[in-house]
Amino acid sequence: MPEFTISRRTMLAGSALLLASTAMPTIGSAQTPKKGGRLVVAADSEPRNLNPAIVASNGVFFISSKIVEPLAEASFDGKDGLDPRLALSWEGAADGLSVTFKLREGVKWHDGKPFTSGDVAFSALHIWKPLQNLGRTVFKDLEAVDTPDEATAVFKFAKPTPFQLIRNALPALSSVVPKHIYETGKIEDNPANNAPVGTGPFKFAEYKPGEYYRLEKNTDYWGKDEPYLDEIIYQVLPDRTAAASALEAEEIHLAAFSAVPLADLDRISKVPGLKVITKGYEGLTYQLVVEINHRRKELADLKVRQAIAHAIDKNFVVKTVFLGYAATATGPVPKNDPQFYTADVPTYAFDVAKANTLLDEAGYSRGDDGKRFSLKLLPAPYFNETKQFGDYLRQALAAVGIDAQLVNNDSAAHIKAVYTDHAFDLAVGPPVFRGDPAISTTILVQSGIPDGVPFSNQGGYKNAELDALIATASETLDTAARTELYKEFQRKVAADLPLINVAEWSFISVARDTVKNIANNPRWAVSNWADTWLEG
């Protein structure tokens, strides 16, 4: 399968392909799937809570998406970019006050009890809305869920809620858990949070802390002939080099989420029997962003922010920091988003002379030592690439006379310093674009967010016009009008630079040739793997 090979790397550097990749049809396998086998994959962390209805995060989904299913999953070619899972159809009322889901019938929970609309109502009202990290925002106006029959759930909203947003939120935010297990006792303390019960193709079987998770085939799964695999094992490999070694030693079949560092990909792509796959993460785009503390007098000046944007060579960053496995960014929506992205925004070409002129105009001329002013730069430690970009940014700023001092923290300390203490001037962050700007993107620039909320505007930026635009968009029901408002949002953010979007990237999988049906949807690593099979 040449589509999967490393040669895509050079092409990926061009943003056009990243855009086109979502439009490409699913790469199916012409072979007849084989039943049976144990798939062993690398896991680099052990989530403390495996309930995806409470914790909607990739670390949790990676394991639990095989056990607990959402109402719909992301799809390359389905209607609205969705494939039905527990819901067969979804329809929004014109007034934005209700959404009706027709549910799949004959589905059973892993303990044999039937799945009904009562489970959906319970999950939505008692978990997604009050407890879920993302649902607390998206479902905040959800008032009731009517269940006229066992296969129908009608979501009722107190305020008009855009159907487009609900649709876009389905893959990540709508994991359904069984009411009969969660209705007694405190939901947060339920033992099923660590041994999930769902409707998915695999059942939770065993967890040995520090060693592995084991899932086994659900023989009662609703999907015809699915799943193909007998077992999935997540082997915990905490060391950064371990996944690559384990693949080479043929101890594991797959390392997802860039568990193999970018620098190793070139070498490992030449190992016979292994392939490097860049597809299957289109719905999980990370954005490389320079967060700005507007409380600093210098940074409150638009000219200084423009100068910083001009000082960054985005192409160099993509080529050097990401080794080509990324695309340059123009604004707060990534280029590979099929619904909202617009290229029609102010852009900032790499131009050191212009950056210097802008800084001179702003009144910050160079001192005797060649420096205009100093600032504190805090790169987020979560990814190698965010740290490396921090090093690059320090040099890029030095070239225009800004002296940036790097402050390196571990994750907990970084979160506290940036989002609670505001003890930064510039920070490098990796926010996630989740298919709709209202889920986790507008919050990056909106004002009035309490201190301590991570991945939000904690830079003291306040723009009444932008706030009004975000508020209007959140209530606009018409899909076309709403999309247009978010295009305007991108233009305004790119013009006023509350933050600077540098690049967009996603993850890489490395797998053995024998693993089939990989990367056949935009959230593949966190989808249910019902059709994944092993050859030989």
């Binding site: 060391d239 070694s245 907990a412």
Partner: protein, 328 residues
Amino acid sequence: MTRAVILVRRRLVGSIFVLLIVVIGTFLLLEAAPGDAVDAYIVSTGGDAGMIELLRHRWGLDQTELTRLANYLWALLHLDLGQSVTFSRPIRDVILERLPNTLLLMGSATALSFGLGSALGIYAGARPGSFRDRFLSVGSLALYAVPGFWLGLVLIIVFAVDLRWFPIGGIESIASARTGLDRAADIARHLVLPVSALGFIYLALYLRMMRAGMAEVWRQDFVLAARARGLSRRRIVLAHVARNALLPLVTMLGLQSAQMLGGSVVIESVFSVPGLGRLAQEAVAARDTPLLLGIILISAVLVVIINLLVDIAYAFLDPRVGASEAGA
């Protein structure tokens, strides 16, 4: 026998103060680190202000540091290590599950470095200044200078990836349902590389100590006397020289146990061994104060016990030790 009992009693009373200082010190250190368990948690989830407040309340982080320390010490008095924030399970269970792995790794590595180290030390010290003496001294020093993680990675690449003689990591084959001897053999196979990586580094210490001790003993009068009596060289080396040089090594054994625990943090991560060292590293990253305190407490108890055993062994090996205390 009474000698040993008195020794044990004295050491235990002293140890309790040591442990108390360790607990309070660790607590204050971790509190001084920026960010708490909730900050560490929301890195992977995000969340709004309400959710964060809810979590702080649920995990008891909205209480003052002093209250939390007092609560912890009070629970500790009842031998309760508390609840882990990251695992939502009793800390005792979390630690007990990992302790055997670390003990196995440490014990085997210590046996390797002590056993092989002193044997090679005797071999080298039997003929001080010879070629084999120089070769072993320099070779072991070179090993000592190698960082543990690097040695571990090299062993993995050579013996696990290229030759495939041993697995790349873990403590046993995953979900293999092995039992009894079969399982023991499987665990042993998994331990070969991590034990080598950990053990070979400390080998040099014992080797050089043995060698240096022997070099000193060679000059003693009784060796001369033994020679004059016409004893075989082999007999002199083993029964007279090596035996007398062995005592300091036993002391070293006790001191090294603490270092081994430190070294196992790195080796356990490189070889994906689910042990205490790796757990400690995770506890720090997650700012799981009670868990880290539990691990440190258990490690401290472990070190105290090992040193106690060393002292007792010493008392038996050398009749002079503890004699004055027993008489007092």
